[in-house]
């Protein structure tokens, strides 16, 4: 509750939270079928209509309502972003914790693998993975998760290394606490704050990477709408129907903006230096 109040007080946090909330509502409404029009049905007489009261964001080449498709597309993109970031967080946290805790060879091997993954640009690596594993929603989730795992491994490993040296971990050893107890209670619990910030920021990147993959035809497959697919479909109609490009583009931009603002606010709020109490 304190957390929510603090975000509501933070100026950019408030904006970020509102944007994210709107996107989630749109995604849920789209998923349960509460859209202005059927997003798949083709209204042949109303092809390539500009924005109007009937079609808020116009229609595409096949006469499908852009607004309805956008709601579904947001849902699709958010689902992929959330699930891939969840996987990346899980894998990255485990790898980072193990590397920090066991050190030596484990640390060397695990972190060098992470370095190799980090050496490639995110979208390139994701494309490579999809090219090997075949295109589709599931493989793009896996690809995005793999691409962002090293970032989480690094975010966890650094603080975990310093936490491992802290007196309270030594104290736990003198009680005879088990390794799993120390890892969860003393290390992981103190990593919640940096991880939360990282998750929010990673959601923004994952949204962008998913859009990129779909735009290239490697992610979500038509006719299912996703923000990247919609952009891709609009690229040949840029002159005749600019709204087809503008609205999905704005949706991607505001989504990333929302997550970034929210993440920055979380970082400010969770930073012990701005809290005015000892870390």
């Amino acid at each position: 509750m304190d957390m929510l109040r603090a975000i509501a007080r933070h100026p950019s946090g408030r904006i970020g939270a509102i944007i994210i909330a709107l996107y989630i509502v749109a995604a849920i409404l789209g998923a349960i079928g509460v859209t202005p029009h059927d997003p798949i049905q083709q209204f042949r007489i109303d092809r390539m209509k500009g924005p109007s009261l009937t079609y808020l964001m116009g229609t595409d080449l096949l006469g499908r309502d852009t607004f309805s498709r956008l709601m579904l597309g947001i849902g699709q993109s958010l689902t992929i972003a959330f699930s891939s970031v969840a996987l990346a967080t899980l894998a990255g946290t485990i790898i980072g914790l193990f590397a920090a805790w066991w050190g030596h060879l484990w640390d060397g091997v695990l972190m060098r693998i992470m370095d190799v993954l980090l050496a490639f640009p995110a979208i390139l690596l994701a494309m490579l993975i999809v090219a090997i594993a075949g295109k589709g929603t599931l493989t793009s989730v896996a690809a995005i998760a793999i691409v962002y795992t090293p970032i989480f491994a690094r975010v966890v490993r650094g603080p975990a290394l310093s936490l491992k040296q802290r007196d309270f971990v030594d104290a736990a050893r003198t009680f005879g606490s088990s390794q799993s107890f120390i890892l969860t209670r003393h290390l992981l619990l103190n990593l919640v704050a940096p991880l939360t910030v990282q998750v929010t920021l990673a959601l923004a990147w994952a949204l962008l990477t998913e859009a990129g993959l779909s735009f290239l035809g490697l992610g979500t497959q038509p006719p299912a709408p996703s923000l990247g697919v919609m952009l891709s479909e609009s690229k040949n109609l840029m002159q005749q129907a600019p709204w087809l490009m503008i609205f999905p583009g704005l949706a991607i931009m505001f989504g990333i903006l929302g997550f970034n603002l929210f993440g920055d606010a979380l970082r400010d709020i969770l930073d012990p230096k701005t809290q005015g109490r000892a870390a």
């Binding site: 802290r166 309270f168 104290a171 003198t174 009680f175 005879g176 606490s177 107890f181 209670r185 870390a279």
Partner: protein
């Protein structure tokens, strides 16, 4: 001739200066060549008062809400520091007023040699360049009694010991011949023998240069020998000020009396505890020929080229109900010995026997820093439950009753259970750590500098608590400390460690009253004490030998002699 005159100084912090006044009307005068000691506990406003004089307090967000600070400058003009502009302040900082801080490592730039940094000070303050600056820097190092000054100019700060670094800081500050030197706890981070060297140096330099000094400290015993006047501060108010002898011999204010009583006075073994009786019992912990070595690697293939002999051939035993104090300076191996007994570091060699006691884990530990040894994200109930969970107990009503009983026993209330560590003061946190160590009903508690981080009055109460708990639960303490006065108060026996080895061990009364080993003598001579304030300290620049040894090095066998009943001394080998 008044150099500095402070009248009714008020300093406040934050957005609402009226509500956050830290210094509330302090006045004092300081003459050239005289020393004023400002004494108080943390939060008393002593540092803020001193930082106001060169307006460094501005950078911490402080603001003047009243009063004047008149400083007589070189040439006889007088400046009111509270209203001076930044240009004038830059002039007086460094030139008229020099300052040294507590931690010399953070005040020196790690990427420049100390020579370059001292030369820089001479260039800025006196306009010296080239060989003139170099020779001035060498002279400055010689003036602060650093041996081989010419070679040391090429050293980087990390290559020097803490005491050496503090001397380099003093050399830099003296580059401008300041008329006033502000020293903010300059020896708190240093070992006691090094502290005595720095204090003696400061006193000599003050007399040589006819410099005024403001000395900020929490340790009233430390300044007794060096100060002319003393000002005791509490909650932003100077509760008592005057010439040092009259304040120390005839304190008027309750708080001054309280401070003087709370500071453990070292009395050369005259006030040791008399309740110990070790003849009857078998030892619960016995350590035989313990060695802990850390490998040193170097070169391309990280070959082992030597080892740090942190602990080398330590024998000791501990019987139920007694306190064995291990004293020594940083790097002497006293903490490593304790950590080896607890299994936190691996022993390279030797035998540690611990009798099975009242519980599965008979040895527990209380750490130095009460802020670092409690996980900030767990509440007190979870913190106290941890040892029990580790021992396989269930967290139920019975366990909670034990927690409450222990909390009340260490002087906390039951509503502490739902609170988090940051809601407690340092002393309360250390009480929490003690309660946590007692959760499993141990036989032995290792106290690693357990009261060193606490304010003196809190320290005294925690020590009393520890002694009561020892009697009540029949605990044996392994008490690790650098503070001889604290050791005298709690120890039955004392072991003195130097360079990884025990050099003297025995009854506290005997070791502290008639030290035999030359190191023990030096250690005891360096203890500051109100009672010895007229004694003159001479400079002693003995350096601790390096503990890094080549591969395969074995220390020469130890020979011991008896110096009385239960008092053994290691025979010193001629170097």
């Amino acid at each position: 001739m008044t150099l500095l005159s402070v009248r009714d100084l008020h300093v406040a912090f934050g957005r609402d200066p009226g509500a956050n006044e830290v210094v509330k009307g302090v006045s004092f005068d300081l003459d050239a060549g005289k020393t004023l000691a400002i004494v108080g506990e943390s939060g008393s406003g002593k540092s803020v008062t001193a930082l106001s004089i060169n307006r460094l307090v501005d950078f911490g967000g402080g603001r003047f809400t009243g009063g004047t600070i008149l400083l007589e400058r070189t040439g006889g003009t007088t400046l009111d520091v509270t209203t001076a502009d930044e240009a004038a302040l830059t002039q007086i900082r460094g030139r008229d007023i020099g300052m040294i801080f507590q931690e010399p490592m953070t005040s020196l730039n790690p990427v420049h040699t100390v020579g370059a940094q001292i030369e820089e000070a001479f260039r800025l303050n006196r306009g010296l360049t080239g060989t003139a600056a170099t020779s001035a820097a060498r002279d400055a190092l010689e003036r602060v009694r650093i041996p081989d000054a010419a070679q040391r100019l090429a050293y980087y700060p990390h290559q020097l010991s803490g005491g050496m670094r503090q001397r380099v800081m003093i050399a830099m500050v003296l580059a401008s011949n300041p008329r006033l030197l502000i020293a903010d706890e300059p020896t708190t981070a240093l070992d006691v023998t090094v502290q005595a060297q720095i204090m003696a140096l400061l006193a000599e330099l003050r007399d040589e240069l006819n410099m005024a000094m403001i000395f900020i400290t929490h340790d009233i015993g430390l300044v007794a020998g060096i100060a002319d006047d003393i000002m005791v501060m509490q909650n932003g108010v100077a509760v008592e000020q005057g010439p040092i002898d009259s304040v120390l011999d005839n304190p008027q204010h309750d708080y001054t009396r309280h401070l003087l009583n709370a500071v453990p006075h070292f009395t050369f073994g005259n006030t040791v505890r008399s309740d110990g009786n070790r003849a009857a019992a078998a030892p619960i912990v016995s350590v035989d020929n313990l060695a802990v070595r850390f490998p040193v690697r170097s070169g391309l293939f990280r070959n082992r080229t030597g080892a740090v002999h942190a602990v080398d051939g330590v024998d000791l035993d501990l019987v139920p109900g007694e306190t064995l104090a291990i004293v020594g300076e940083s790097g002497s191996g006293k903490s490593t010995t304790a950590r080896a007994i607890l299994g936190l570091v691996e022993a390279t060699r030797g035998q540690i026997d611990i009798q099975s006691g009242r519980s599965g884990r008979p040895v527990q530990m209380v750490f130095q820093d009460p802020y670092a040894s409690l996980n900030p994200r767990l509440n007190v109930e979870a913190l106290l439950a941890e040892p029990a969970i580790a021992a396989g107990q269930r967290v139920d009503a019975k366990l909670r009753e034990r927690m409450i009983a222990l909390l009340e026993r260490v002087g906390l209330t039951r509503d502490a259970l739902t609170r988090y560590p940051h809601q407690f003061s340092g002393g309360q946190r250390q009480r929490l750590c003690i309660a946590r160590a007692l959760m499993l009903n141990p036989d032995v508690v290792v106290l690693d500098e357990a009261v060193s981080a606490l304010d003196v009055s809190v320290q005294a109460r925690v020590l009393d608590l520890l002694i009561d708990l020892q009697r009540e639960f029949g605990l044996a303490y392994l008490f690790i400390s650098h503070d001889m006065a604290v050791v005298e108060r709690i120890a039955h026996r004392v072991a003195v460690m130097y360079a990884g080895q025990i050099v003297e061990i025995g009854r506290a009364a005997s070791v502290l009253a008639s030290p035999q080993h030359s190191y023990t003598k030096r250690l005891i001579a360096a203890v500051p004490a109100v009672a010895r304030r007229r004694q003159h300290f001479t400079l002693d620049a003995t350096q601790v030998p390096s503990l890094v040894r080549p591969l395969g090095y074995e220390p020469p066998p130890a020979h011991w002699r008896d110096a009385g009943e239960d008092h053994r001394v290691r025979i010193e080998e001629p170097a």
